[in-house]
């Protein structure tokens, strides 16, 4: 095979629905694969910690249905990575069951359905730590400690191409993946068909966010990537979008600190020598990508731990004197919580919209607040009852804040709602690390079944 063509209709399947018209134009090109990633750590630690999806099931089903029907119509494989936002085992099972239901609903002829899991048992990591293995931190995370592991609720490992290739080699028509590097969802079939790793990983890199590599800006539109032995070409399917040198090179830097390197399980894609060429109006051709195998096979782990139950409250302030002294108002309310619950065992956060609500410590204009403020109060504690009371004191006591020269003496803040509301429990990222593995499939058990009639 001289070239392989893959379409990607969505950069994060489920987060918002794919756009059907450009997807159908992509399908009309008769690609060899239809693939998309469905996850991201952008959604924060709550979905992984609480084992939920942030994407509605209706949107997940919409995209899976479009992709499955097109793939079976063309007789080509369909690949999904990072099922259900987090790629946890329950999300893989959810997607497998949606595929089965869709196959039933449309009376599709029997096909082979492969899937793999990515969840990592805490006991497995604990044994590695006890055996003296270093679980290295990424970015600002230090080496993993026993305490941080204990504080973790759930861990997923980030798959490279390996479990996808294993399932394709077994003849899977549909692959449903656990947590995966998004580029590997596309690199895997290319490597499976014998294309060089450098081009294959670049193909994945450019396709993973669908139309984010095209201009003008417009998400959830389909793009088509074609790989040969020495180049990758990418084409926008939406009639008004184009993949230009600027849009493709610009996408290389999106969401990562370096525009030149992309790390995946087993190696690094090096884009520093890439050359970009405008092949036609809507197509850009890229050559010069390189791939370096890592000396040690390390897999990224993601873990989230629960901080506590959470309630939120909201207040407004209009008096300019009170606005100038908003830190004193917050200080007063915090003091009342401290007198009730002490200094620790809970968290109390204030986000001051109108001053530095969006940027916090990074806000250069925090000494120039607006003429009115909205303050979001969050109380986090081990039990819902305590979180409610922390938040209630932290919110309502702002009303009673004692400012020496305030003219208004009938309430320091305005309530739109005189209540606090239960919010999702608070979680935090405990694990952003890498673990050495002897076998690339060690953390990713694969399974094969069938669906359809």
């Amino acid at each position: 095979m001289e070239s392989l063509r893959i379409i990607c209709p969505n950069g994060h399947l489920g987060f918002a629905p794919l756009r059907v018209p450009s997807f159908r134009l992509g399908v009309a090109e008769r690609p060899d694969y239809i693939a998309a990633d469905s996850g991201s750590d952008d959604v924060g630690p709550i979905p992984l910690g609480s084992d939920t999806s942030t994407s509605p099931r209706g949107w997940q089903t919409h995209d899976l249905e479009q992709m499955l029907l097109a793939a079976r119509e063309l007789g080509v494989p369909m690949i999904i990575g990072s099922s259900g936002d987090t790629g946890s085992n329950s999300r893989v099972d959810l997607y497998v069951s949606i595929i089965r239901e869709l196959a039933q609903k449309h009376r599709l002829p029997r096909f082979r359905l492969g899937y793999f899991y990515s969840e990592v048992d805490k006991g497995h990591v604990r044994r590695k730590l006890q055996a003296g293995e270093r679980v290295e931190g990424l970015d600002t995370h230090g080496t993993l400690t026993q305490a941080e592991l204990d504080a973790t609720e759930r861990i997923v490992a980030m798959a490279g191409v390996h479990p996808f290739i294993a399932l394709l080699a077994q003849g899977a028509d549909v692959v449903i993946g656990g947590r995966s590097s998004d580029s590997c969802v596309f690199a895997a079939p290319a490597i499976h068909h014998g294309f060089p790793e450098a081009q294959a990983y670049y193909l994945g890199k450019v396709l993973e966010c669908a139309s984010f590599c095209a201009e003008p800006y417009g998400g959830k539109e389909t793009v088509l990537g074609e790989i040969t032995a020495d180049a990758v070409e990418v084409t926008a399917m939406h009639p008004d979008q184009r993949c230009t040198i600027a849009s493709v090179a610009g996408h290389a830097m999106y969401e990562r600190s370096s525009p030149y390197y992309e790390h995946v399980a087993g190696g690094t894609l090096d884009m520093s020598q890439c050359r970009y060429e405008q092949k036609s109006d809507r197509t850009t051709r890229i050559t010069g990508a390189q791939f370096r195998r890592a000396p040690e096979f390390r897999v990224k782990l993601e873990g989230a731990g629960k901080v506590g139950e959470r309630y939120v409250g909201m207040v407004g302030i209009r008096d300019p004197y009170t606005i100038a002294h908003v830190d004193d108002v917050i200080g007063w309310a915090k003091q009342q919580v401290r007198e009730r619950f002490g200094d620790s065992g809970y968290e109390l956060h204030y986000i001051v919209y109108g001053r530095d609500g969006v940027m916090g410590e990074l806000e250069p204009l925090r000494d120039r607040p607006g003429h009115e403020l909205c303050i979001l109060v969050q109380g986090v504690a081990p039990t819902a009852e305590m979180a409610e009371e922390v938040c209630m004191i932290g919110t309502r006591q702002m009303f009673y804040a004692r400012l020496p020269e305030v003219k208004g003496s009938a309430g320091s803040v305005a309530f739109a709602l005189d209540e606090v509301l239960r919010a999702s429990p608070a979680y935090r990222w405990t694990i952003n690390h890498t673990l050495r593995c002897d076998d690339p499939l060690e953390l990713f058990p694969t399974h094969m079944t069938s669906a359809g009639t």
Binding site: D42, D139, G250, M253, S257, P259, M359, L362, P364, Q378
Partner: protein, 103 residues
């Protein structure tokens, strides 16, 4: 003098993993890109001063010629989505760059 917002095609911020926020300033043509590069308004020191942080929290600053872009990355104090984080995606942290004056 011109504002950076008048010279750049794209000015954006976004998470780069859970610990970092990365900023992209992208220009439509080589001329504007080179002008901003030469002006020195986007250096580690200048960016750190603008955001009022230690220069060491800027973990990377790259002049990316193939993309006509200047890119830098700031380490978060706590990972994205921790309780109290006001910008889980890191998508609204670029605004102070808009008004930078460029010679």
């Amino acid at each position: 003098m011109a504002k950076l917002s008048a010279l750049a095609k794209t000015i954006r911020s976004k998470n780069a993993g859970v610990d970092l926020i990365t900023f992209d300033v992208i220009f439509a043509d080589r001329g504007r890109y080179e002008r901003v590069k030469r002006s020195g308004v986007l250096t580690r020191e200048r960016v750190a001063a603008l955001y009022r942080i230690e220069p060491s929290r800027i973990v990377e600053l790259v002049e990316f010629d193939p993309g006509n872009a200047i890119k830098f990355t700031i380490a978060r104090r706590r990972p994205s989505g921790s309780p109290g984080d006001p910008d889980i995606f890191g998508s609204q942290q670029y605004a102070p760059l808009l008004d930078i004056e460029v010679e």
